[in-house]
């Protein structure tokens, strides 16, 4: 119950921010040249005056900006995200269709980056300045310095084209009609490359932070005390050092949930995944204002949720914070 109250308070306090973001984005897109009808006409390859006027009326673009904005906000108050111009159906259902792919990709990439980052970070810190540390740190630097689209494309070339182990893109086998476990395995096969691509750069960050923070905590007095009282080395690392060293990494996850949503645009495009990132990109290109604002709204909610979970984790890891 206390948790729910906390969550409610969090959501309320972020409402003004949300409103500013939505209105700001709405006005910003008004500055972009051309509207969704121009984008549609570009796709069609031509259209006369009468047709475009009619389409503008159809999409409600004939009204002044202030009217359009107030219409949008009024609908939002009623929990209506509006109608998508590209997809011809309610924005809420368009986003709901795309959400699973994005959540799956983000979730798996984040978990991979988090756990692998921690393990490698600990390993590097334990063997500091020895060859395992050098190897891990160098790899980390390589992952961090390489652009993710390049990783993705190289992954496709090697594992999909040359070795033919993994599919080059897509979310699942089209028209295979798998159900249950077979479907889960099928989707997992398709997600291996995108997850790796998205995770590597974050993995590099987490491992470096983890390594540094481990090294710092290892020099603190309570570690010396623990060792002095004869606690086994394994227990010192896991119970005393790890718990304290984790805090900065957990903070980073909260901060980077948004970055990861942004990064998934590239990964989703390269691997042709039906996620929110690609939807956002398409909405900008097609000037589909309602869809774009809807995505921003949902992404903001996601980031708020992740940060809320991070706060709960803090309290778990360090009772002083709660």
């Amino acid at each position: 119950m206390r948790v729910l109250a906390l969550a409610g308070r969090r959501l309320l306090s972020s409402l003004p921010t949300l409103l500013i973001i939505l209105v700001g984005l709405f006005l910003l897109l008004q500055l972009a040249p051309g509207d969704t009808v121009d984008a549609l006409v570009a796709q069609m390859g031509g259209g006369d005056q009468k047709l475009t006027e009619e389409l503008r009326r159809f999409y409600g673009l004939d009204a002044p900006v202030a009217v359009q904005l107030s219409r949008y906000l009024w609908r939002l108050v009623q929990f209506d995200l509006g109608h998508s111009a590209i997809y011809g159906k309610p924005v809420a259902s368009v986003i709901l269709e795309r959400l699973p792919a994005t959540l799956l990709l983000m979730g798996s990439a984040l978990s991979l980056a988090f756990f692998a980052g921690i393990v490698l970070g600990i390993l590097a810190a334990r063997k500091v300045n020895q060859w395992p540390d050098t190897l891990i740190s160098t790899l980390g630097l390589v992952f961090y310095a390489t652009p993710s689209f390049w990783f993705g494309l190289m992954g496709i070339v090697v594992f999909a084209i040359k070795l033919a182990w993994l599919p080059p893109g897509g979310f699942e086998t089209v028209g295979a009609g798998y159900v249950g476990l077979a479907r889960v395995l099928d989707i997992a096969r398709y997600l291996v490359l995108p997850t790796l691509t998205l995770a590597l750069i974050f993995l590099a960050i987490y491992l470096r932070i983890m390594r540094a923070s481990m090294l710092e905590v290892l020099t603190l007095d309570f570690v010396r005390t623990a060792r002095a009282k004869g606690v086994a080395e394994q227990a010192v690392i896991v119970r005393h050092v790890l718990r304290n060293a984790l805090l900065p990494v957990v903070t980073l996850i909260g901060l980077q949930a948004g970055t990861m949503l942004g990064g998934s645009v590239v990964v989703e495009s390269v691997f042709a995944l039906p996620g929110l990132g690609r939807l956002a990109y398409e909405s900008v290109v097609q000037r589909d204002l309602n869809t774009l604002l809807g995505i921003v709204f949902v992404s903001a909610l996601l980031v708020i949720a992740v940060n809320f979970i991070v706060d709960l984790l803090y309290a778990r890891l360090d009772p002083r914070i709660a």
Partner: protein
């Protein structure tokens, strides 16, 4: 005696034939490419999401790519480029050219089981083509009514003469029929059948999963008995071009249409034995890379300056080295792939830098102390790699003769609104698409009086009463030979005046897996029905 020899020869032929059949069976793939097989799935690349899949409302290659397999036009083009009977079986016109009668195919049913009749044709023509279809609303502007004396006759009545050959050449793109019983009494723009099309075609719509794929399956009641060969067609939506190339290479896709792969990959696939890279099957969809002049700039209103620009750019070098040979020097608004209208001997502008400089000097724009004559803003369309490369090439070529060019890039919506609505450009470059007949989408680039904001029309601030007259005369000329002569006159005039320049002529490129049989066999193959397409397994 002679009879017996013949029998003998026949027998030997039969034995030879059987022998070769046995050979085929033991050597799979040896000769099988010639013979279509039944069954199989073809995976097709789709590089952009479509808002609707109704070609009776949207004339667009992206829509035809999918919907033309599900819905059908009155006529299409056959392998030789002549009108082929689809939903219409025959056509005739009256001497005044104002009445055109179509006899319709009998025994055709919609995918939902209802019969196809002349009422569908009447409804589609009046409620969709004339009101909403891009290019269709212009083509059918003078269509007064469609009469339906019986269930299989549709009579189009025009208030001005409509050349039958123009209509027949336009209808393969602008003549798709939608089911009246589904659309009547609804808002045609928001009808759910726009994204889940119901047609009469060889394939039935199954599913459109946004951002992922579209599936259509064999129509067992198709009017061409025994067709289609394929069980299914699946369109995979992949927006990233490199990812699309990878999917082709990994065998996940069988065919890419309308030049939707990177130029470098097209060049690479040309040398890959698994694929065929061809412009065949795109003859009806010629494309020009243009240079559009804004005549409101006093420098560009000067014919000498426009000619100098044409002389200053080495188009042949560009085509060979930047386009990997997928293109050649353009000769005017009617491409060489349209032999019905292509005129010989029109004025051309060969690459000649010295001449360009002389023309600029003659126009009074001498080089300043910094070697520059004047500066222009070039707005390239975001349609593809070729436009982007071409704009850089223009910049460097014009820089060499003293014209300073600044490139300003926008995305699709930004390009259209800046160039065609705001006239906010000096030079623009994009694509002109030729659609079988100059009257469909070509002459609008030159005819004056186009309302401000209409894309791909004359928004250049240029006008010629003489050329307007040729365009209007040709559009209602009933005699095909006279029409051809009028269009020859038109090309000669616009190549002389150079209001805009059709610098490069290209055709779209298809990449097809060698396992496909009967592909690229009509002039608008990517946009056609694919009933005879098959795949070897």
């Amino acid at each position: 005696m002679p009879d017996r020899t013949r029998v003998c020869i026949t027998r030997r032929l039969i034995r030879l034939f059987l022998g070769s059949l046995a050979l085929c069976a033991t050597m799979p793939g040896a000769l099988s490419a010639a013979e279509p097989q039944r069954g199989g799935v073809v995976n097709v690349l789709m590089n952009s999401e479509q808002r609707i899949l109704n070609p009776a409302l949207r004339a667009s290659t992206g829509v035809y790519l999918v919907a033309a397999k599900i819905m059908e036009p009155l006529v299409d083009l056959d392998t030789t480029g002549k009108p082929e009977a689809m939903l219409a079986t025959s056509w005739s016109t009256t001497p005044d050219g104002k009445t055109i009668t179509f006899k319709l195919r009998q025994g055709v049913t919609w995918h939902d089981g209802k019969p196809f009749t002349s009422a569908d044709v009447q409804f589609t023509a009046m409620q969709m083509w004339k009101k909403h279809l891009n290019y269709g609303s212009t083509l059918q502007r003078y269509l007064d009514a469609v009469d339906t004396p019986d269930a299989h006759t549709a009579v189009f009545r025009y208030s001005r003469p409509m050349p039958l050959d123009l209509l027949l050449r336009a209808l393969p793109d602008l003549g798709y029929i939608a089911p009246r019983h589904v659309f009547d009494g609804t808002d045609v723009l928001t009808n759910p059948a726009n994204t889940a099309p119901i047609g009469t075609g060889p394939f039935k719509f199954v599913q459109y999963e946004r951002g992922q794929f579209i599936i259509a399956e064999r129509n067992p009641n198709y009017w061409r008995k025994g067709l289609p060969y394929l069980d299914r067609v699946v369109w995979r939506i992949i927006t990233d071009k490199s990812a699309a190339s990878a999917a082709i290479e990994a065998g996940q896709l069988h065919v890419s249409l309308y030049s939707s792969l990177p130029l470098a990959d097209l060049d690479r696939f040309k040398r890959d034995a698994r694929f065929e890279v061809t412009t065949r099957g795109n003859e009806g969809n010629g494309v020009n890379n243009t240079i559009e002049f804004n005549h409101r700039r006093k420098e560009l209103a000067d014919l000498n300056v426009r000619r100098a620009i044409a002389h200053a750019i080495d188009v042949d070098f560009f085509c060979k080295n930047f386009l990997y040979g997928f293109g050649k020097r353009g000769t005017g608004p009617i491409p060489t792939s349209s032999p019905e209208f292509y005129p010989q001997g029109t004025p051309q502008y060969a690459f000649d830098q010295a001449k360009a400089e002389a023309l600029l000097d003659a126009a009074g724009y001498k080089k300043g102390t910094d070697g520059k004559r004047f500066a222009l803003r070039l707005v390239p369309a975001p349609w593809g790699e070729d436009v982007s490369l071409w704009s850089t090439f223009i910049q460097q070529s014009l820089g060499a003769v003293g014209i300073d060019v600044e490139i300003v890039r926008y995305d699709a919506a930004g390009f259209l609104s800046n160039v065609y609505k705001e006239w906010n450009f000096d030079l623009a470059t994009g694509w002109h698409q030729y659609r079988n007949d100059p009257a469909v989408s070509t002459t609008v680039w030159y005819r004056s009086g186009s309302p401000k904001g209409s894309p791909w029309t004359n928004q250049w601030g240029w006008q010629s009463a003489a050329i307007d007259k040729i365009i209007d005369d040709a559009a209602s000329e009933l005699n095909p030979a006279k029409r051809k002569a009028l269009y020859a006159e038109f090309v000669k005039a616009v190549n002389t005046e150079l209001p805009i320049w059709m610098a490069i002529e290209r055709q779209f490129v298809t990449v097809a897996s060698k396992s496909l049989v009967n592909h690229s066999n009509t002039p608008r193959w990517p946009s056609s029905h694919w009933a005879d397409l098959s795949i070897t397994r």
